[in-house]
Each structure stands twice: as structure tokens, then as C-alpha cells.
Subunit: 530 residues, 2 copies
């Protein structure tokens, strides 16, 4: 039943880009878009817009494809803006649309008018726009899709008056269905040759890989380069993805997050290649020298801002995968030995009534399938997690790129929807879980078989760590007692059990991982710390 | 233990303005502010920033005082921005502060840097700022407080680098403790005389009151004017407060929300005084004439934007309470009869297993204490609610002013904290409840005795109504099945029971209202519609 409206043309355009999964939470302004929703599309409802955006973010990160989010005017957009901080920093190609009031009611600021709509999502979107007339809606959407995916990728925003959708589509719109925008971002041989020579001649080269490597599925290129150079590999600090197999002998772990500590870890290396990450994304304020003396940083990224912003280094703005592949070809060394692999920590004794997070991760690593994908949002246990887990494939790890809480539960649902053939395990703290809690409902309703693990220690663990660093241990608001995530999960329709020892956890996780079409939540009492 | 830091001076400044209740959710950037948190302050922790801001909004609305909110950088601010839409439209004097990264880490965009911090909360704040040096923090906070409270009141935003707090306070800061900013916004006699004469001579005057009347506690002035003129009174459309006692004979109800329907309701009136509301805050798109022919609109508001934006009417920008009081004095008529009071709808028969919302409200109205305060967020039942409830005091009703969902549960907690001597009853839909669900935890932890009533009909009721209007009944995402709010509430530490008939509801509400120091949640199965 094809009509000739802006609406039906828009669905045609979305089909062209494979954007047939729509994440949303509708209000009255959005209904005219959702009217006659085509049967080849699926609508994933979230109960709060932060969760909606987080789910879409996970989906976009795991597919690498532009993903449509449909939010309700200013209030819906506002609710999603915490989640947007992560999407912006993970370069997630989200196309966020929000319904605007009818054009005749915008000037008088009728209820649900998105006033200064294009201003609202800034600075957390690459581009934001409200078409000046209905006829421009399809072109604007086409632009929003391309803006979201072209380098540097990131979210875009479109505010669309709700009385535009029934207007007729014009013949000129058909050109949009024929458009194709390609990108040339390959380095030329001269650009690569100099770096190859520096790496060949380096006394002690070091490789640091970041999220762009995983986003571009360049993990195997990273491995080839490490193999050729025999170099150790660190994951860039404030990691949001796993760019390099943790079971490769070169793998050293994740760099720390302060200027001084990073410098200490780089000590002794003369040529340091950083690929697909900022140099560097610091976090903790421990001042020091950026780099050891005489260390040379070679920095390749597709992100123009990161290249411009960096306080040191020789930068190449180019596609990271193509640059790594070119370097692999160009570097001419043989017989380099790989470093000795690092050892995993051993399992320790748990106290009665709780597990050490390290022991939990140890067990999880043993029991999870090889191609498991982790969504992690338990900041205090990041290091312990990386020390224990085996992650050998692309898309094996997702962490909020801006540190914005509310990512874990929703993103896990989105990643699982994107990769139905892999099992997604969300590892989330009892503080973090509350920011995106309603994603549990979506998991239940759409039978998304995520295994949710809540680490329950009754406190904001990462904050406790910072409180020591800052001498602020007496601050209020650091503890979160009195939470029963099994009850909450059941309230949202998700089966749940709690565990307070390794045996119980082992039993629950083994059974949860086998479930094929429904989520399961395990609340584990954990100790604060390792 | 007084030190001489920016931090300790800031707490002194907050004391001066009575801002000793801090609503927040901390991250590492905020810890240096919260260090040595003074014992005469209280910190109200919320588990998600939308709920934090909603609680603060309720508190500020009920107290009328500037209220401090402390959020975590960009992600925390972002999470709160849906709630900020309501605070902006309800002119809530919120002073929102957010921790910024250490000054030395802002340029390199370290994790948790709030990039373009002053841009982020726009356009939902009146003023936003990041001090250019630590020494300016106290003055900037003083400005933020005054900006929030001066006409037109509204939220303000301050981003404060976390390494500013330990810096020394300068002698010049002491002047801030002496400051006082007063406002002259009283109309002069000439401005009032003309309007008084128009009202005296009017054949059929009409009064329309809006939220500024309740915010300024001018309800009794509104009553005096109605009594003098013998005029009927409507509440302005898209109501967010109750400006006029519903048990007064003049009370007609709330005006509808479309241009055409409002015009129909104004038919026959020659002079229409609108006080403390926009003319008008429409919502539904049913075009028509703004006003009946020859109707004259007199519009008094303290909001300069509303006066500038209005498409009709003679406006006076002045304090609403003082203007109403002046009109009461100036209007010289006697012996006018009041209209006959409207009748409340009768109770009807409930189907088996559910209650009609009207019957629920009927019972609630009978059983609630006289000075009850309602926080309402169940859009589909707004009209039914107003038809049944008795609200005779100021601060008896709060509804999200921008229609942003996530207000109900949090605002109820804030209102109850602001008015411990009154009982707050939150009436919230099963769709709406999810957007601010974590406020339940704060109610439990701080023993805030709100009675939460969840109307559970399994659907976004207001959307269902709009879907009919827009012919979009087939839209996806309109239903919310599979929710158990009793389980969720218990998971957050709140005692809860469900009711699916009048007897059960009566028993539960009677007992809940008597509880003095803990919240209670009642989930009621309701029918869709009246």
C-alpha cells in the first residue's frame, strides 16, 4: 500500500541504508512518522530515552552501520543526552530524529515544542538541523545519515515537525535513492614509507591500539604488525573497545590513565605507534611529563579533532585499517621475537558471603563461550577484568567511551540484537545499573538473551577509589545500599537469581549462557576492590 | 574546623541563601566539592541524574527558593536534561553545578571533561558559565543564584573545575556575603486603573489563572478578585499547578489545549484577564481562531518572553501577586453574584479486576487529608483528575510543565522533603513511572513518606488518545505490558501492594496515608479511559 508521502519516501530511504531497525520511545509528535509502520521494519521500544539511545549505541557499535533513533521532542532528547556523551566519544553513527510540534504551533511554543531544537543536542552531535519546510525532510535525513558515517563518525540530530509526514514527496527526492558517498582516506606510499623505516630501525618499538582499530575490524592487521615487529602491545588508556587479542603474546594490558603513569609505562621505548586512539585520553590528574625523553610518537587516526588536539606526536589522519595494512606491507624486518606473554592472576580465596571480582572474572572467563562479547560498566574493576579475560575476536568488549553511566544494560541489549549468533554478557556495577535499568524490560519483551551480571558491593566503587586519591573519603553520596536487583529485574520481566559464592555463581552462569531466547540476570555479592 | 578555601567560602555563601539541601549524584569531578561536607547541610542522593533534577525541581517549586543540584560533568548533566525541560518551563530556580575536569586536563579532553560545558545545557537554562579561574567561582555561584531567582526565574548552570576547590579564598569574596538584590515589579496605579475599569464595565468578564499565581502564593488574591467580579474562573491550559481552589463556586476547570477548543470556551466573554500564564500554552493541533470576536485579553505575567511571544492581548509585565492585589483594590463593583459551582462526576461501576480512574480519584479525594499535595504524571487522566479532586491550598498540584516524563516520582520526593507537614500523593501512569523510577530508592533511604499510586493499564494512555486523533492507531511502541511495579518498588526498598478493585485500593490508601516515615507504593489496575 504505497502512498506518495514524505513518510513513505523516508522509509524507502531508510531501507536503502539498511536502517530497518528503529530504536525509540514515542510521544505524540512522533506518531505521524510511525503511522503505517512498514512490516519489514522493526521497532525496539525502550521505556526511557537514555536506555533507548544506549541500546541504539550498542547496536551501531556492533554493526558499524548508521542506526536510527526516534525520540520525543525536547524532553525525550534531553533524557537521552547522558547516553549521547558516550555515543559521541565512541564515534557511533547514530541518526537521532525527534518529533517537533506542528509547524503552526512552534512559534507560540505550544506544549512539546522543541525550542531551539538544533541547539539542544550540542555539543554532543556532529550536526543538527531542522528542515525549514516539509519538502526538505528526506534530503536532510540523507545528509544526517552521511554526516553520521563520514569521518569522523558520530551522532547527528534532526528535528522534524510532525505535520510534515503526510505532505507529498516531490520527484526530485528520487535522486536521494541513487546517491553514494565514498571516502578516500588511504595513506600514500610516501607517508607510510617514512614510518615503516622508523619502526624498522627502532631499538624498542611499542604499539598502542585504540577503539578505531576494533571499530574498523582492523584487529588482525594490528596482530600482523605486532608479529612482524615483535613489539609489545598496549591498549590505549580509557579503553572503550578491545582492539587486540588479549591471548596474543604481545598483549600487555591497558595503559593507565594519568600523564605520569603513562609516561612510566612508555619508558625505554624509542618509537611508539598509536593507532586508532587519541594521544592520550587521560582521566586521573597525576601531572608529569607526557613522554620519556627521545621517545617519538607516530599517531594514526581517522579523527581530525584528535590529531589537531594532541599536545605531541607526528600525526597521520587516515583510515586506520588501511594504514595498518600498508605498514604491515611496508615494514621490512624478519626474525623478530615476540615478547613473553603476561600471566593471568590466580584465583584467590573468597570471604564468606561474597566473591572477589577477580575470582568472578576468572570463572566467567572459563565458562563463557569463545566468541562471547562483553559489555562492561563496572569502573572499579576495569583492571581486574582485563587481567583475567580472554577476548580474541573483534567486538568482544564495549565500555562507555565517555564514562557516562547508563550504558551497560542498554548497550548490551543493542549489541545482542546486532549479533544474534554471539552471546553477550553485561558486567555492570550496582551503582551503574540504575542509570539504564529500564533496558531490562526491552530485553524481556523482545526476548534478547543477554546475560546480565550485577556486581553488588553497595558502593560506588570507582568513586571510593577517587575519594582516597583526593582525600575526600568523607563525601556524602558514595554508598548505594538497599538494592535488590533480582526484584527489580523480575519487575521488568527478567528472570533473576542472586549468588554470594563461586559455586552458586558457576551454576547460574552455566545455565544462563545456555538460554537461547530470554535474558537472565545474576546479582553477585562482591567485595570492594580486587 | 574552618579553612580558608574556595570550598569553605562557597558553603558559607550557600548558607546565606538557605541552600543547605543539596540534591546530587557524584562522580570523581565532584568529590573535591563534597569533601568536608558540613554537618548542617544535607545531601540527597539520587541514583540517576534525571531523578536528581526532578527531586530538586519538586523541592524548588514547593519552597520557591533557589535549590542546589550537583551533577557529574557532561554525562550527569546530559542525563538530567529531560528533567530540565520541565524545570525551565515551570520557572524553577535551580542552581545546577557540574564538576569539570582539572583545569590542566580540559584542553586535552581527558575523560570526564565537559567539553563546551556552557553550551551543553542550552537552551534549557537561563544562564550558563564556567569560571575562567578558581578565584571567580564564588562570585559566579552568587550570580547563578540571583540569575535563577530574578524574573523570569529558571535554572542556571555552572561548570566548576575540580581542582578549584582547594584554592584560597580572597578577601574580596566577603562582599558576596553582604549582597542583596531586590526587585521592583509592582504595577503603577495608572496601569491598574485602566484594567480595573475594563473589568468593572465588562458585560461578562472571565478570569484565567496560571502557574505563576500558585508559585507566588497569590491564590487568595485570585479568589478575592473572582469574588468581587462574580466571574467564572478557568485554569490556563497545559496546567502545571493549581492556582485557584477547585471547591470555589467560580471554578470551571482547566481550559482545553487546542486553539479552536479554547476559543469555544471563551465564547461570550468580552473581557478576559489571564494572570500568571502564557496566552496560551497550546498542545493539540486543532486550528481555529484564537479568540471570539470582540473579546479583549488582558494578560499579566512576570515572564518577559511570554509577553513578547504572545500573538494577541494587552500585556503587563509585572509581579502577578502584586498586580492581582492591586486589581482587587482598584475594581469598584459590588453585589456581583458568583456562578453556580460545577458538579463533580458520580462514581460509576468498575469492571471486574480493574478500576476506572475516575472512581479511583473519587475515592482518593474522599480519603486524602485536606492539605494533601498531588504530584501528577498520568497525562491521559488529567481531565478526569481535575473533575474529581478538591485542591484548596497553594502547592496542591504539580504536573510536568514541559510534559517531560520522569517528573512524577522524583518531584513527589522533592515536594515531600520541602513540605514535611503535608502528605504528598504521587499519581503516576505505568508508562510515566519508568522515566524516573530510581527516585523510589531515595524515598526509601531518606524515609520520605510519599504515597505513590501507579495507574496500570498497560499502555501509553495519552499516546493512545493522540493516535486516534492522528489516525496512527497502528503505530508500534504504544503498549507497556509485563511490568510489576510492586516488585520494582521492593527492589528499591519501598513497600508496595497492588489493588485491582475499589475495596482493596481503599484499604491500601487509608493505611498508606497514615504512615509517617516511610513511602508506600500502590499499583492499581485501571481501565484505559475515564
Amino acid at each position: 500500500m504505497k502512498d506518495n508521502t514524505i513518510r513513505s519516501f523516508t522509509y524507502e530511504l531508510l531501507r536503502k541504508y539498511g536502517m530497518t531497525t528503529v530504536f525509540g520511545n514515542p510521544g505524540s509528535n512522533e506518531l505521524p512518522f510511525l503511522k503505517n509502520f512498514p512490516s519489514d521494519f522493526r521497532y525496539i521500544l525502550g521505556l526511557q530515552e537514555g536506555a533507548v539511545l544506549g541500546m541504539a549505541d550498542g547496536y551501531a557499535l556492533a554493526t558499524g552501520q548508521p542506526t536510527l533513533v526516534n525520540l520525543h521532542a525536547a524532553a525525550g532528547t534531553g533524557n537521552a543526552m547522558g547516553a549521547l556523551t558516550n555515543a559521541y566519544y565512541s564515534q557511533s553513527p547514530l541518526v537521532v530524529t525527534a518529533g517537533q510540534q506542528a509547524r503552526n504551533l512552534v512559534g507560540v511554543e505550544a506544549m512539546l515544542t522543541n525550542v531551539d531544537a538544533t541547539q539542544l543536542p550540542k555539543p554532543l552531535v556532529k550536526w543538527s538541523y531542522e528542515p525549514a519546510e516539509a519538502e526538505d525532510v528526506p534530503r536532510a535525513l540523507s545528509q544526517a545519515i552521511h554526516e553520521a558515517t563520514l569521518p569522523t563518525p558520530g551522532p547527528t540530530y534532526l528535528s522534524i515537525p510532525h505535520n510534515d509526514w503526510d505532505k507529498p514527496a516531490s520527484a526530485n527526492m528520487a535522486h536521494l535513492l541513487q546517491r553514494h558517498v565514498d571516502v578516500g582516506a588511504r595513506p600514500n606510499p610516501g607517508q607510510i614509507a617514512g614510518w615503516a623505516e622508523l619502526l624498522e630501525r627502532a631499538r624498542k618499538p611499542l604499539l598502542i591500539f585504540g577503539p578505531e582499530v576494533d571499530a574498523q575490524q582492523a584487529n588482525s592487521d594490528a596482530v600482523k604488525l605486532a608479529n612482524k615487529l615483535g613489539a609489545p602491545v598496549w591498549v590505549a588508556p580509557s579503553e572503550s573497545r578491545c582492539p587486540f587479542p588479549t591471548d596474543h603474546p604481545s598483549f600487555r594490558g591497558v595503559l593507565p590513565i594519568s600523564i605520569r603513569e603513562i609516561c612510566e609505562h612508555l619508558e625505554g621505548h624509542d618509537v611508539i605507534l598509536v593507532a586508532g586512539a587519541p594521544v592520550f585520553r587521560y582521566h586521573k590528574d597525576i601531572p608529569g611529563n607526557y613522554l620519556p625523553e627521545d621517545a617519538k610518537v607516530l599517531h594514526v587516526t581517522g579523527d581530525t579533532h584528535q590529531a589537531a588536539r594532541a599536545p605531541f606526536g607526528e600525526a597521520l589522519v587516515a583510515n586506520v585499517k588501511q594504514s595498518l595494512a600498508a605498514l604491515v606491507d611496508a615494514v621490512n624486518v624478519k626474525g623478530r621475537k615476540l615478547p613473553k606473554p603476561i600471566k593471568k592472576p590466580k584465583r584467590t580465596d573468597d570471604p564468606i558471603g561474597a566473591m572477589h571480582p577477580g575470582n568472578l572474572f576468572h570463572l566467567l572467563d572459563q565458562l563463557a563461550p569463545d566468541n562471547v562479547s562483553y559489555v562492561k560498566e563496572a569502573t572499579a574493576t576495569k583492571e581486574t577484568f582485563w587481567a583475567h579475560m580472554t577476548m580474541s575476536q573483534p567486538n568482544s568488549y564495549f565500555f562507555p567511551a565517555a564514562g557516562g553511566l547508563g550504558f551497560g544494560l542498554p548497550a548490551a541489549v543493542g549489541v545482542q540484537l546486532a549479533m544474534p549468533d554471539r552471546r553477550v554478557v553485561a558486567v555492570v556495577g550496582d551503582g551503574s545499573a540504575n542509570y539504564g535499568i529500564t533496558a531490562l524490560w526491552t530485553a524481556a519483551q523482545y526476548q534478547v538473551p543477554v546475560v546480565f551480571i550485577i556486581l553488588k558491593n553497595g558502593t560506588y566503587g570507582a568513586l571510593r577509589g577517587f575519594a582516597s586519591l583526593l582525600g575526600a573519603e568523607d563525601s556524602p553520596g558514595l554508598d548505594v545500599p538497599g538494592l535488590d536487583f533480582c526484584a527489580i529485574a523480575r519487575g521488568y520481566g527478567v528472570e533473576a537469581e542472586s549468588a554470594n559464592n563461586a559455586e552458586a555463581f558457576e551454576r547460574l552462569i552455566s545455565s544462563a549462557i545456555r538460554q537461547q531466547n530470554r535474558p537472565f540476570l545474576i546479582e553477585v555479592s562482591t567485595t570492594f576492590g580486587e
